[in-house]
């Protein structure tokens, strides 16, 4: 008796448990669906401009302004009839003369005569049936659209953008590579100095370094520009490249945080073997730091590709040295009335950083996490 009671009790608890976990997984499934759907919707809005750019870049001027046209590059379907091209519309067959009123089908018909109440059509698939009238306003009808991209827009940008496009790509790449060399060398040295040597004043200098992140660049630009102008560097690469060789706070911070996580035993062993500090940096620290160095590299490439203000003020007179960002904004001044060309040019500008991101995205994520969270 007692035994069966316990058994039935146990059984009861078991059923409630299964019920509970079933309900639980049901609720969790609903939550997962809700959260994931919400995220997809937000992401779709966030990335929609990419699709807008691609579609617009493939349109003609007429396609951009055409009313009732779909968002993708499309042109209305036409058929040849009696030696003329006539437009095609989607017509509900029930409204047409000589058809069954209960017919619900919609056919693509060529329009011969447009009318407000009644229009005359022909059936392209059955021209022998001749013209017939349907009681529809042609303005209310939808059209079947066909995909009609204008690839020539890209060729036109290639030809008409100030400076030739390959030259702009080369200028931007050159600027990125030269400053990259400076940033990597100088920031590695400085970060090593902050991470591995103990001396009075080091912490103070480190605070000054961090403070420069928050210093407005505006307060230095007038004397700096005037100075570069005085020594004849305007219109050359030098004002853009030389300062890169003197380290910057972001990259020093990122590398220093990384160097601090490396065990000291290896460099101490190397020191005891008589290695100079430079030798330690080169053969002990750097081989262990590829992730951090890669992060600095990819950030800097994106930074250089993005940089607009520096090249704008220092290279404005030297058109042959313009990077792509400056050329793009000038292009907008010239061709702003042709959105297709502007979107095509924008796409051609962002393709290189986008490829870099696809190849190296994990370095971006890691690098940001280091600079942002560590205090």
């Amino acid at each position: 008796m007692a035994k069966s009671l316990t058994q039935s009790l146990q059984k009861d608890t078991q059923t409630t448990l299964t019920n509970k976990s079933f309900l639980h997984s049901l609720r969790r499934g609903a939550n997962v669906t809700f959260v994931t759907t919400l995220t997809i919707a937000l992401l779709a809005i966030f990335l929609a401009p990419f699709l807008f750019m691609v579609f617009t870049s493939l349109k003609t001027r007429g396609q951009i302004t055409q009313l009732g046209a779909p968002i993708w590059p499309a042109k209305p379907t036409t058929v040849e009839y009696n030696g003329k091209n006539i437009e095609v519309f989607k017509v509900p067959m029930a409204s047409c003369a000589g058809s069954d009123p209960s017919d619900t089908s919609i056919k693509n018909l060529g329009i011969v005569k447009k009318g407000r109440q009644q229009s005359t059509f022909v059936d392209p698939s059955n021209l022998g049936a001749g013209e017939f009238a349907c009681n529809v306003s042609w303005r209310a009808l939808k059209r079947p659209w066909v995909f009609s991209p204008t690839w020539g827009n890209y060729a036109q940008v290639w030809k008409t953008i100030p400076g030739t496009f390959p030259k702009l790509l080369w200028n931007t790449t050159f600027y990125a590579i030269m400053t990259e060399i400076g940033v990597l060398i100088s920031c590695t040295l400085v970060a090593f100095g902050f991470a591995r040597f103990r001396f009075p004043g080091r912490d103070f200098l480190f605070i000054v370094l961090i403070a420069t992140i928050f210093l407005p660049a505006t307060v230095t630009i007038i004397p700096t520009y005037t100075f570069f102008q005085r020594i004849g560097w305007l219109g050359t690469w030098l004002p853009l490249i030389v300062p890169a060789f003197f380290a910057n706070a972001y990259d020093v911070f990122l590398l220093r945080q990384y160097f601090m996580t490396l065990p000291r035993e290896l460099d101490e062993a190397a020191m005891i073997d008589g290695a100079s500090p430079l030798k330690v940096l080169w053969s002990v620290i750097i081989p262990q730091s590829y992730p951090a160095l890669m992060a600095v590299t990819v950030f800097h490439i994106v930074y250089a590709w993005n940089d607009y203000f520096g090249p704008l003020i220092y290279l404005s007179t030297a058109r042959d040295k313009w990077p792509i960002s400056v050329a793009l904004s000038t292009y907008n001044g010239l061709y702003g009335q042709q959105p297709a060309l502007i979107q095509a040019a924008s796409l051609m500008t962002l393709i290189a950083p986008l490829l870099l991101f696809v190849v190296a995205q994990r370095f971006f994520v890691q690098g940001i996490v280091v600079t942002g969270v560590e205090k």
């Binding site: 919400l38 995220t39 929609a48 750019m53 100095g193 040597f197 103070f204 307060v219 003197f246 996490v369």
Partner: protein
């Protein structure tokens, strides 16, 4: 990062410490300074010296008229006197001043610049989200689009005739005549600028997400045991724990806000359209120097901006002790 700044008093070395260095420490000092030298030289040449030169310029009358530099002489506080009654800087009864324009834009841009990335980061951190890694890199990805290209892409989206935003509004039933003109609309130009820059949130989003992931799960368990709901848990546990990250982004955004001018420069050719609503302070500074070639007045504007930023930042640091929580510190 910001915590370092608050330790500045402890870090200043006295001269005595240098005199008493033992030989080995002297060697370490020399080696350390050798490695730091690129930055120290760069800091002196490209930061400290120009900053002081800007201050110096602001007491002179340097300007170029018709390609000729005026003979420099001291004018004392004349430039500052001009600044404090400049109708381009301060609002008059008829026109908004560039300082007020900057602040008004900030009132829209700053909250969005903090809460949109925070909201997305919270969503990314939700355990009910499938494919977190994928979404994380997709929300970050537009950040790498060069900003000039991003302006033109979103500018196309905002086009009042052919842009998708107005088309979507029409699709949802907005009457055609009440659609905003966005960039050319005095009432909509600031939201437009926020939209033009929205792809820049990727960085802040990733930093905040990393902050969220660093919150110990025990704290959430404790909150659940105490019967806190999701909203309470966010404001009483999550927000305090990630407040240093938010503070860092806030300070950077404020410094960036006061220097905002590239978007109006590119979008409206820097002429302040529509209706002078986009004549931002730093745009005025840029034009004073590069277009009107008035170095001294430009420097005065720059130093005043520097002081304003410093004051605002100090106020922010002052409020920090009420809402920014550094774990591991006993308060």
């Amino acid at each position: 990062m910001l915590e370092e700044l608050s330790n500045i008093r402890k870090a200043v070395p006295s001269l005595k410490t240098f005199r008493d260095l033992p030989p080995l420490a002297r060697r370490e000092f020399r080696a350390g300074m050798f490695f730091l030298s690129p930055w120290i030289i760069g800091f002196l040449a490209f930061t400290l010296l120009p900053t002081l030169a800007t201050l110096f310029f602001s007491f002179l009358n340097l300007r170029i008229t018709d390609g000729i530099l005026s003979p420099p002489h001291f004018v004392g506080l004349e430039n500052y006197r001009q600044l404090f009654k400049d109708p381009q800087v301060w609002s008059t009864s008829t026109t908004p001043g560039s300082l007020w324009i900057t602040i008004r834009f900030g009132l829209i841009a700053l909250p969005i610049g903090i809460f949109v990335p925070l909201g997305i980061a919270v969503l990314m951190n939700n355990r009910n989200l499938k494919g977190q890694m994928f979404f994380r890199s997709m929300f970050y990805m537009p950040y790498i689009v060069p900003f000039v290209a991003a302006i033109f892409i979103w500018g196309g989206m905002l086009n009042s005739e052919s842009g998708w935003i107005n088309r979507a509004l029409m699709y949802f039933g907005a009457p055609k005549q009440s659609l905003p003109l966005w960039i050319n609309d005095v009432n909509w130009v600031y939201p437009s600028y926020v939209i033009l820059g929205i792809w820049g949130i990727g960085n802040a989003m990733l930093i905040m997400l990393a902050g969220l992931q660093g919150v110990p799960t025990e704290l959430y368990d404790a909150a659940t045991v105490d019967g806190a709901n999701g909203w309470q848990t966010f404001w009483k546990v999550t927000f305090p724990m990630i407040s240093p990250v938010i503070f860092y982004n806030l300070v950077l955004s404020v410094v960036g806000l006061f220097q905002y001018f590239l978007v109006p420069l590119v979008v409206n050719a820097g002429n302040g359209n529509p209706g002078g609503a986009t004549y931002f302070y730093n745009l005025y500074l840029y034009k004073t120097f590069f277009t009107f070639q008035n170095m001294s007045y430009g420097s005065t504007l720059a130093w005043f901006l520097f002081v304003v930023i410093l004051l605002v930042t100090m106020v922010l640091f002052g409020t920090a002790k009420y809402w920014v929580y550094y774990a591991g510190e006993s308060r």
